[in-house]
């Protein structure tokens, strides 16, 4: 399979991996958001806890989430490889650059944005996923099955305004990351067309605004509710 | 030595065919035993190097630029002629031949020109096969336009960048042979001498422009594809690096220099704006299809314009002199280049020039915009208008363009026979570097044609005729002849560096340019030329006494490069003046004020001057010796050009 490694090790192949994993993560965001929005259903966390429980016991979902972690890791690893490669391509930098006139800020700072999102992700996982998986969460009776009370963990967490603020800011980073990443992934895959590219760019921008906004709504609303 | 053009006998149309059959061939298996040096990688050089390598010869290609793709062929805008007759408008090989001979004012060799017209059709095929994106019609076939006053549409073009696209085609063919290992490329390497052994060209001496190393390269044949010498005028449309050095060194080693005084002045260039000017930019001749040339009727109005007291667009039609339309009712603004140029000079000499320097005329698109709308004009000339605005800061949609003639092309060059061989056996000259096909004046869109014809379709046949008679062994690079040439080159460099005078190289180059432009430019006279000769001699003497070149020879040293080139221009300038003095007639790009018709048109003297003037170098400080190649016209009747 040498041609596979050859292709994937080329700068184009590495970019392809970034784009493909990026696409998957975009899909994941949608699914994750759909689940999380259930936090805002005023039923004392019933639908959310049921959803969290089903996620935990469904083998398909579990394997998908392992793949998801793998792809996040791949996205991170390749971004590190590419960044190192790109830094090496210009060993002596310019004394003066005026890049704001030729490209967007987000497009030039995907690495920084990605790193900030990764930090958020680690905090996020530590706060929820880790505590559900390895902690001893409270139990709650849902019909006749006893399930983890994930809802209460979230409610508790979002009582802290600093924590809420951290979430909101992180979603801003995500928005900027997506504002470039969404359309950029299409370009890397070779999808550039006079008719469709402007549409893709608009959809990408809409996506980059809508999804992080909805994500950010959750902690804000829950904080307000806790007051 | 009697100049033998080696033009084949027989019917004009059969000459090239029979010649191709009669030339000696080199066995395919033996071609790799021959090494050919190609100097210059423009259209002629790149196409020759690629084609010869494809045949199996070992090729070394040299250019002074950082890449072969930068050669100045790239700047040609208009197009390339070919007798394809795709437009069904009456074109033919014979018509292209006839137009070229007539346009050249009957000062070129019939057989060469006919061959050029014949192979022109192959060039287009070749370039299309390489992926050159010529303009096309909606049906997918190639588009043509009429160019430079031709009566048929035979010009193929790629927007305003035909030269670029053709050169990139030839460059790609060359690159393919580099990858195949058949061509070794030497960028940033300048040829500084030809080496002859037993009277035959056997190699060159070069300077590596990065390290300054002087090196010898031995070969069985040497091709000079080094372009023209328009930069002798300092200001020209040539690239800054374009130079005569390769051709001039060959001349000093025994190659005759033919018709050096034939200089083409292009009528539509952006005028000089001040003393700082380093080069002139051409605006495509196609602009004259829709633009109208004029100056104010009176000196008073012109003065107001120069002081910016009035705007050109406010001058009413009755105060404008559309001098080309008035003087030449049938051709109008589309008269040939030399006629348009000379008339611009006349009106400016009368004091009716329209910019601060007094050396500019208007090219006005007002009427075209009124007639066809701004959008149509934009679609035709948009990139040229943008370029004009970029350079001058004026918007040509609102105010007329200012233009003035500038040196553009040199028809003269190394004398070559039908095989493109100079008077030194084994040394060839191709493209603008030779003199052969354009006579006293070149038609628009014919330079690209000639460069590629020579490289793709002539030299691959004719070089074999010489090589087939040569032994496989070539002289070693430590042969005394190489060592001697190397030390001469080194001595000259050391001399330039050791003068440590007071004036820069550009100072002398500018002075030389002014002398040439004033006395050997659009109009020449015996008195002026004689004066110029003295001035150039003095200038040359002063140059070698007072030029300042800093730095060392063993490094990248751009002042040294320039000094080396300008030193040769100073010598060439004198020869151009000798040639212009000798030619007591007016023809094409050579206009002697003493020889004109009562209407002020060029007056040829076919009786006494229907010959090629080939000059032989006789040594430092000696007058050069004139040799004549009589031109025989069997197929065309010599007529006086008339554009009334």
């Amino acid at each position: 399979m040498s041609w596979v490694t050859k292709t994937l090790n080329s700068t184009l192949g590495q970019k392809l991996l970034m784009a493909l994993t990026g696409f998957f993560l975009i899909l994941f965001l949608v699914v994750h958001l759909a689940g999380n929005l259930q936090l805002l259903i005023p039923d004392n966390g019933e639908s959310f806890n049921l959803y969290a429980h089903n996620m935990a016991i469904n083998n398909f979902i579990r394997s998908v989430s392992i793949i998801n972690f793998g792809l996040i890791l791949l996205h991170v690893v390749y971004s590190v490889i590419l960044t190192k490669h790109n830094k090496k391509a210009r060993p002596v930098g310019y004394a003066e650059t005026d890049a704001s006139t030729n490209s967007t800020w987000a497009s030039r700072n995907m690495g920084i944005l990605g790193t900030l999102i990764l930090i958020f992700l680690l905090v996020h996982l530590r706060g929820f996923w880790y505590r559900l998986k390895f902690g001893s969460p409270d139990k709650v009776l849902l019909g006749d099955t006893e399930v983890d009370n994930a809802f209460i963990i979230v409610v508790e967490a979002f009582k802290n305004p600093i924590y809420v603020g951290f979430y909101v800011i992180s979603m801003v980073f995500l928005a900027f990351h997506l504002s470039h990443g969404f359309a950029s992934a299409f370009q890397t895959l070779g999808i550039n067309h006079k008719k469709y590219t402007p549409l893709i760019q608009k959809v990408g921008l809409g996506f980059a605004i809508l999804i992080p906004t909805l994500f950010a709504m959750i902690p804000i609303v829950m904080y307000i509710q806790s007051l | 030595m009697i100049l033998d053009s080696k033009s084949p006998s027989g019917q004009l149309a059969e000459k090239w065919t029979s010649h191709k059959f009669n030339v000696k061939l080199v066995n395919p298996a033996n071609k790799r035993k021959y090494e050919i040096i190609v100097v210059g990688t423009g259209l002629a050089g790149a196409s020759a190097a690629a084609s010869l390598a494809e045949l199996g010869y070992k090729v070394k290609a040299f250019c002074f630029q950082d890449s072969p793709r930068r050669a100045h062929s790239i700047a040609a805008q208009g197009g390339i002629n070919a007798a394809k007759n795709y437009q069904n408008d009456g074109d033919s090989v014979f018509r292209l031949f006839y137009d070229t001979i007539k346009g050249g004012d009957y000062r070129s060799r019939e057989a060469n020109v006919f061959r050029l017209a014949q192979v022109s059709v192959n060039i287009i095929d070749q370039c299309v096969a390489q992926g050159v994106p010529f303009a096309r019609e909606y049906g997918g076939l190639l588009a043509n336009r009429s160019f430079g006053g031709a009566q048929v549409s035979r010009t193929f073009y790629a927007r305003g960048q035909t030269g670029q696209q053709l050169l990139l085609g030839a460059y790609s063919a060359l690159s393919r042979q580099v990858a195949n290992g058949k061509v070794k490329l030497y960028p940033r390497t300048e040829m500084l001498d030809v080496v002859t052994i037993d009277g035959k060209a056997h190699g060159i001496v070069t300077r590596n422009l990065i390290t300054g190393a002087i090196e010898s390269h031995s070969a069985h044949a040497v091709l000079l594809c080094t372009g023209g010498y328009g930069n002798v005028f300092f200001l020209s449309t040539n690239a800054m690096g374009s130079n005569v050095t390769a051709a001039w060194r060959a001349h000093k080693k025994g190659a005759y220099f033919a018709n050096p005084c034939y200089t083409q002045i292009h009528p539509t260039c952006i005028p000089v704006s001040g003393d700082h000017q380093s080069k002139l930019t051409l605006m495509s001749e196609s602009l004259r299809n829709d633009g109208r040339v004029w100056v104010p009727k009176t000196i008073e109005i012109a003065e107001k314009l120069r002081k910016r007291e009035i705007k050109p667009q406010d001058i009413p039609d009755e105060d404008r002199d559309y001098y080309l339309e008035n003087k030449y009712p049938s051709f109008g603004n589309l008269v040939p280049r030399d006629v348009a140029s000379r008339n611009a000079k006349y009106v400016c000499d009368e004091g009716r020039g329209v910019n601060e320097t007094g050396e500019a005329v208007f090219l006005d698109f007002r009427d075209a915009i009124l007639r066809d709308g701004e959008d149509t004009v934009r679609s035709k000339y948009g990139n040229l208008f943008d370029m004009y605005q970029q350079i001058t800061g004026e918007n040509p949609y609102k105010t007329p363009m200012k233009i003035y003639p500038a040196v553009h092309y040199t028809m003269g060059g190394l004398w070559v026979d039908y095989n493109l061989m100079t008077t030194i056996p084994g040394l060839y000259a191709l493209g603008e570097a030779n003199f052969s096909d354009h006579g006293a004046n070149r038609l628009g869109a014919s330079a690209l044609m000639q460069g590629l014809a020579d490289g793709y379709f002539v030299i691959p046949y004719t070089v074999g005729d010489y090589l087939a008679t040569q032994p496989y062994d070539k002289p070693a690079e430590d042969h005394p002849a190489f060592k001697k040439a190397e030390s001469e080159v080194k001595e000259r460099i050391e001399r330039l560096l050791s003068i440590k005078g007071e004036k820069s190289v550009d100072y002398y180059h500018k002075k030389l340019g002014k002398v040439m432009w004033n006395y050997c430019g659009m109009a020449r006279s015996a008195d002026g030329l004689a004066k110029a000769k003295t001035m150039i001699r003095e200038l040359k003497e002063e140059f070698w006494r007072n030029v300042r070149v800093l730095g060392a020879g063993e490094e990248l040293n751009q002042s040294l490069e320039k000094a080396n080139r300008v030193a040769d221009f100073l010598e060439l300038g004198e020869l151009m003046i000798d040639d212009a003095l000798n030619r007591k007639e007016s023809c094409g790009g050579h206009f002697r004020e003493e020889y004109q018709t009562p209407e002020g048109e060029a007056l040829r003297d076919d009786e006494n001057y229907a010959y090629v003037a080939a000059w032989e170098y006789k040594g430092e400080g000696q007058e050069e010796k004139l040799h004549k190649e009589e031109l025989v016209f069997e197929n065309v009747k010599l007529t006086q050009r008339s554009y009334k």
Partner: protein, 249 residues
Amino acid sequence: MNLTLKVWRQKNASDKGGFREYKVKDISADMSFLEMLDVLNEELLEKGEDPVHFDHDCREGICGMCSLHINGKPHGPSQTTTCQLHMRSFKDGQTITIEPFRAKAFPVVKDLVVDRGAFDRIIQSGGYVSVNTGGVPDANEIPIPKVLADEAFDAATCIGCGACVAACKNASAMLFVSAKISQLSLLPQGRVERKERAEKMIAQMDKEGFGACTNTGACSAECPKEIKLSNIARMNREYFKASVTTENV
């Protein structure tokens, strides 16, 4: 106008180099940027200082030899070549920083002169149609739709100046490479070798040490010939298609 120039000076490839400041006076707005440097060099020569070396040749925006990173942008503030940049784009009293194009694949030779031989080697790796001189069909034998011919032409106008590399934060050469791949893959003549060409040219590009593309679009925004970003997308398609379908294992 009077200007302060901050110019990168470097004796040779191995020298470390640094900025030097120069003042130039009475610069006319009609001068081109390079003519302004000519003025500086004349003054330096008079003072007995080594003139500033920079690449240039045609001075009409087509040969691609001039370079320079001026006030943070390749070829300076307007989207054109340095030789076509005129001093009316600057203000009296302004400080202008002039640096060489920076990339590992474009090593500095001296002062502002860089070696762009990498571009030649990329073309040599496959940027051509493999036809020998002679023996080709008549030019009108293969009709090419005007739209395709025009699009190929748009890509073919690349002058190989390297501004795309200089502008890219990753010093990526994708715009240059994609322009040639696009031109030839759009035309029937070039289609025969399109797969091999894509694979070879990209391998060579990587070998030369250029960076990867992050689709910032800076290359296209700075390209004096306005080569479009869609060429890079086309190159990606060509390359991935080639990788999957050629028989080169």
